[in-house]
């Protein structure tokens, strides 16, 4: 079957996406789960252990507290309470921590430090898998066993005010609730007022048992202006006063009922130095956790440092405190200080309950649980506990009883710690089989791509795909047979769950057919290449095209980037790699330009043809001897002589200046958004612009950027789309003014802030309009097939539609990124690619490099926290999944997408040869799939690395998304190529 190399590459990338998806499914492990679901848990609580004499206490112990108030402050990191900020802004809380009846802890959150997984961790005590981040956008109902469900089952009345995520997680659990959306990040007063306004009313009433308050304002302030903003102080003071109000009200109630209540102040995750969260810096992981109750005794002068505990410990503690069974999946251990005031028998009972639950979870998740040290410790402490109970029931000497009790307690605490630790470690279990199958698919596709390079990049840009003959070959059937046998063996013997085995037989069979067909294709391509290789070596008289310095740089850069993915620091600072590479690329281009221009100037007037001739003769002589010295090669010079000669004076100066202009642009962009980890805290222009003091500057910059965007984009558009573009850009400014980012000149103070839905929709209409016009032009060019310019205009219109969408979705200070991207594209087109006549492959790879660099110029990094989720809500009233995901993905990957679409329109308008587009498509597919494949192997080998969750996994998600987008781009390329060949 003959295929164009573009179509071939597109097919390959699509198959690769399947492989990567399978790998990802296997890589992100399912979290530790207890087999019994929440509904089925009707089993009785574990009775007290006893040795000999039977204990009379088999029911669950009664609740310790009458009412529980959980005050969850989003983004409350530990030093906001225990540090200098706490002392300054939260005087009441500080008083409680230092002198009051309270226990304070530094609770360590686990990755990912994003709100929804953290809420799940707090309420279930389990560790949600990493993949929960991806599902963070639409949180489905929580089906796992958790404290809230247990409390509802026990007839407790729960009231909730705060983040809507809770209402989604627990849709039918609250007797009364009011969800606030974290929809609008720049609002940090309204969200909290919406919670507090119910407080007075609710505190007066007595008809509830659990009150949950989730305050979002602090986190919003962090996102907008960082943890050192003065707004944080105001917010903390507000929170302090709320805490005081709740506490005094609870105390006054206790005076009447004489039953202690519990007030929990906690954070879900911390806040990094830049104000975001999602990663694993200490600031993001450490949250404050304070338990306040009059039941906690405290001697005066007893000053304690807050102890470090796990966030998951809260679920077990709450369950005990409310007299509920501990959630089945909880890996946390009871916070012992909370029960310290109770009699020893009760204390031991609580510890025993917790240990039984943990050991059961261990039994269900670890095959060899009996050898676990935690389990042994538990068995031993259970035995001791039984002895203690016997002594207790025999009413023995109190001294002996006390000593033994202390020993049992210590044993239990040790056992709990060990059990909880080994359970947390269980989370990282990989589904190796699915990962392997995915890797095999990806590698086969990559080797197919690599093997077909010479054929695909030939002038014809077509290649014979050996697909049908191998399907009927023996090798194919043999491989299929072996694979099926392997599949059966693996799936029947596997103990842990395996996604690929869980697939239906038809799907799994399809994948295996694919794997073996690809294997046959690779083998036949290999055979062909070696055959050709022998053929070539026989008559290698015709000289192979030599590599220019630029090609060497491109090759080394790509290889170097792939190798750098093995180091966690290089992944964290990947933007540095790309900036470094494009700078070097610009300097190499600069070198090429100067050599061509200046040496021509020299040699023409001064040196006579004689020298020239000798020059060429020497070169030829050197080539004949083939010394292997690549520097002596006239190829690059001769290629571009003709084109540079034709340039006139001013253009020549522009050509000479262009690399420096590009370098300056890149340097400016680099200081716009500091990203990565090591230097992320450095001050950058972006923060300066977004701070509220510089609204006027931001407005001017935005207006200026929009004007420049219009000027740069409109020149190749048709009249209708010009008008649409102008109106659309005007709409972008109105939208930004509506959401309060920028000001109109006549509007002095920011008045009401809205979501800007109408304005955004106005822009969306124009985006769709321009895209529609472009598509119409493309179709027309396909039907009429006479005019090439219609197609060029159509492609440019699609490109400008995307630019308009990006202008709408970008963060307010990021419009200059768009401007500089357009500027660099224009300069490169006019003064570098056209005069120097690079071939399609080189231009493609340069586009790819710049696209990657612009991905980071936008402020992205290989960290989930930098994804701008608010882009998904532009122009939407409520959360709708498909458009939100699409808009967020586009806003995140705008850099690569815009550069790729520029590549299509540039190649189809500039180059005369018809095969340029398919060459470009092939190169794009190859250069994108190379890092992905290498990274998959790297991650597999580094899967027990310390930073696998914090550094490598987010990067893996980014790579998966990138290959998906590449597939879309390649399909688009191929579609354009098809219309080209038809016309």
């Amino acid at each position: 079957m003959r295929l164009g190399s573009g179509a071939f590459a597109a097919c390959c990338v699509v198959i690769e996406v399947l492989g990567v998806a399978l790998f990802l499914r296997g890589f992100f492990p399912a979290p530790v789960r207890s087999s019994s679901r929440a509904e089925q848990r009707a089993e009785p609580a574990a009775p007290e252990p006893s040795a000999g004499a039977s204990s009379n206490w088999t029911k669950l112990p009664p609740p310790l507290f009458k009412k529980v108030v959980i005050m969850l402050i989003d983004g409350l990191r530990d030093d906001f309470v225990f540090g200098s900020k706490g002392v300054k802004f939260m005087p009441y809380t500080t008083y409680l921590v230092e002198k009051g009846a309270s226990h304070s802890f530094v609770a360590e959150a686990k990755l990912p430090t994003v709100t929804m997984p953290r809420i799940k961790a707090l309420m279930t005590g389990s560790l949600p898998g990493f993949i929960d981040v991806v599902r963070n956008l639409n949180s489905p109902e929580l089906l796992e066993d958790n404290v809230i469900t247990q409390a509802k089952a026990a007839g407790k009345r729960i009231i909730f005010y705060g983040d809507e995520t809770w209402v989604k997680l627990f849709p039918k659990h609250f007797v009364e609730y009011d969800g606030t959306t974290s929809f609008f990040v720049s609002d940090y007063t309204e969200v909290d007022d919406n919670v507090t306004r119910h407080l007075d009313k609710v505190l007066k009433r007595g008809d509830w048992d659990v009150l949950i308050l989730h305050y979002l304002g602090l986190d919003h302030i962090g996102h907008v202006s960082g943890p050192s903003s003065p707004l944080i102080g105001h917010k903390l003071r507000e929170m302090d006063s709320i805490l005081m109000k709740i506490h005094t009200s609870l105390l006054s109630e206790e005076r009447e009922t004489l039953v202690p209540n519990l007030l929990v102040l906690c954070g879900d995750h911390g806040m990094s130095e830049t104000g975001g969260h999602g990663a694993s810096s200490m600031e993001e992981l450490n949250t404050a956790l304070i338990l306040i109750s009059s039941a906690f005794e405290r001697k005066p002068g007893d000053i304690r440092r807050p102890k470090h505990v796990q966030q998951t410990d809260l679920a077990a503690t709450l369950a005990i405190g409310l007299g509920l069974p501990i959630p089945g999946n909880s890996v946390g251990s009871l916070l012992f200080p909370t029960v310290e005031g109770r009699p020893v028998r009760e204390q031991l009972r609580f510890l025993h309950l917790n240990a039984v639950q943990l050991s059961k979870l261990l039994q269900e998740n670890v095959p060899s649980y009996e050898k676990e040290p935690g389990f042994e410790q538990f068995k031993m402490s259970e035995r001791l506990h039984g002895n203690w109970i016997r002594l207790y029931l025999e009413e023995n000497n109190s001294e002996v009883l006390f000593n033994l009790g202390a020993k049992v307690r210590r044993q239990y605490l040790d056992a709990l710690r060990t059990l909880s630790l080994s359970l947390s470690r269980q989370v990282a279990q990989y589904d190796i089989y699915s990962m392997l199958v995915g890797t095999v698919v990806v590698l086969e596709v990559l080797s197919l791509l690599l093997l077909s390079i010479p054929e695909a990049l030939s002038n014809k840009a077509e290649l014979e795909v050996p697909l049908w003959s191998p399907v009927f070959s023996l090798l194919f059937y043999l491989t299929l047979l072996v694979l099926s046998a392997l599949h059966v063996i693996v799936c029947t013997s596997a103990e842990s769950s395996c996604y690929f085995c869980g697939l239906s037989w038809l799907t799994a069979g399809g994948v295996m057919v694919l794997v073996s067909a690809l294997l046959c294709a690779v083998v036949s391509a290999l055979a062909k290449t070696f055959g050709d290789g022998k053929f070539l070596s026989k008559n290698s008289a015709h000289p192979k095209p030599r590599w220019s310095e630029l090609d060497v740089l491109i090759l080394l850069g790509t290889m170097g980037h792939v190798l750098s993915l093995g180091a966690s620091s290089f992944i964290e600072e990947e933007h540095q790699t790309w900036y470094f590479l494009i700078n070097t690329l610009c300097l190499a281009l600069c070198h090429e330009i100067y050599r061509n221009c200046l040496l021509r100037d020299d040699s023409e007037p001064q040196q006579c043809p004689h020298v020239e001739e000798e020059f060429i003769r020497t070169a030829a002589a050197l080539q004949d001897r083939s010394t292997g010295c690549d520097t002596l090669e006239p190829h690059g010079v001769s290629r571009s002589l003709t084109s540079l000669d034709t340039l006139r004076g001013y253009e020549k100066w522009m050509v000479l200046a262009s690399p420096w202009v590009i370098l300056t642009c890149c340097r400016l962009l680099r200081s716009l958004n500091q990203t990565g980890v090591q230097w992320a805290h450095r001050p950058d222009l972006g923060h300066w612009l977004t701070s509220s003091d510089h609204k006027a500057e931001l407005s001017v910059l935005t207006a200026l950027s929009l004007i420049v965007i219009f000027a740069l984009v409109q020149r190749k558009c048709s009249l209708t789309s010009k008008v649409a573009l102008a109106l659309g850009l005007l709409g972008v400014y109105c939208y930004r003014a509506a959401i309060g980012n920028v000001l109109f000149p006549w509007q002095q103070d920011s008045k009401d802030i809205s979501k800007g839905v109408i304005e955004a929709r106005f822009v969306h209409v124009f985006v769709l309009g321009i895209l529609f016009t472009g598509t119409k032009d493309l179709l027309k060019s396909q039907v009429i097939a006479t005019d090439v310019t219609i197609k060029t205009v159509g492609l440019w219109e699609i490109y400008s539609g995307l630019v308009l969408l990006a202008a709408l979705l970008f963060r307010p200070h990021n419009l200059p990124v768009l401007v500089f991207s357009l500027l660099i594209q224009t300069i490169m087109t006019k003064f570098i690619w056209k005069p120097l006549r690079h071939d399609a492959a080189e231009i493609t790879i340069m586009h790819y490099w710049f696209g990657q660099a612009f991905f980071y110029f936008q402020g992205n990094s290989n960290n989930i926290a930098t994804v701008d989720i608010s882009a998904g809500f532009v122009g939407l009233d409520t959360y709708i999944e498909v458009p939100a995901v699409f808009l967020t993905a586009f806003a995140t990957f705008a850099g690569p997408v815009l550069w790729a679409s520029h590549l299509v329109s540039f190649l189809s308008s500039e180059t005369s040869s018809g095969s340029a587009l398919s060459h470009a498509c092939f190169c794009y597919a190859l250069i994108c799939s190379f890092p992905v494949s290498a990274y998959i192997i790297l991650v597999t080998s580094l899967r027990y690395h310390l930073f696998i969750w914090s550094v490598f996994s987010p990067k893996l998600l980014y790579e998966g998304m990138h290959i998906l987008i590449t597939a879309a781009i390649c399909v688009f390329f191929t579609a354009m190529d098809q219309t080209n060949t038809k016309s």
């Binding site: 200046l598 020299d602 000798e614």
Partner: protein, 219 residues
């Protein structure tokens, strides 16, 4: 003829390497607390001065490009002044390039500039000694097939290897090993130095190995 030339080249290069080694060893006798990493800037100055001095002295003694036609004092003075200006310009040029590569604009200006100075010492000073303040000759030497003697050939190799060394020297900066030599611009200056030394070692050897194939216009 050729072999003696190569031998002379080798000796001059060895002297250059020796000067770098001296710049590391000698100051510790005179200055307290001298070490390359801690008093990096001092070392940069000393190294730059010593390499420049050795280059000048060697140039005066060896005189690789044989005859300069005019030898009036005023010509020599203007030539020397021109060389100084070129050197300063190249320092500023490198400084600008470092900033474009991402060096901080305002902080650590002195460090960045001294780094530019040492890179100029390794690259521009030999060029100035050998070719004089003549941009066209420079461009000729640094383009393909423009080399006319083993001296120029070795100049090409040492300069390019200094640049490559500098370029590679930037790689360890993002790594989180927290070593003192990862601080800007120490790894780059060390990279430049290693690149320069490597170029000094490689170029005579390379020329010796390829002496049969190398044909120069003048020799």
């Amino acid at each position: 003829m050729k072999d003696t030339d190569i031998k002379r080249l080798l000796y001059t290069h060895l002297l250059c390497i020796f000067s770098i080694i001296l710049s590391i060893c000698i100051p510790s006798f005179f200055l307290e607390n001298f070490s390359i990493l801690e008093t990096h800037l001092t070392w940069l100055c000393i190294c730059s001065v010593s390499v420049t001095a050795v280059n000048l002295v060697l140039y005066l003694i060896v005189k690789p490009n044989a005859s300069s036609k005019r030898s009036s004092i005023s010509y020599k003075v203007t030539r020397f002044l021109k060389c100084c200006i070129y050197f300063l310009m190249s320092c500023f040029f490198f400084h600008v390039i470092f900033v474009l590569y991402g060096a901080p604009l305002i902080e650590l200006v002195l460090e960045t500039f001294l780094f530019a100075v040492i890179l100029s010492t390794f690259t521009t000073v030999p060029c100035l000694c050998l070719l004089g303040p003549n941009i066209k000759a420079w461009l000729r030497v640094f383009s393909r097939n423009g080399v006319t003697s083993i001296w120029e050939n070795s100049l090409q190799i040492t300069t390019i290897s200094s640049f490559i060394g500098t370029w590679l020297g930037a790689f360890p900066i993002p790594l989180d090993w927290e070593r003192p030599w990862q601080v800007w611009p120490i790894s780059c200056t060390l990279g430049a130095t290693f690149g320069y030394v490597a170029g000094l070692v490689i170029s005579p050897l390379w020329i010796y190995w390829n002496r049969k194939q190398l044909t120069y216009k003048n020799n």
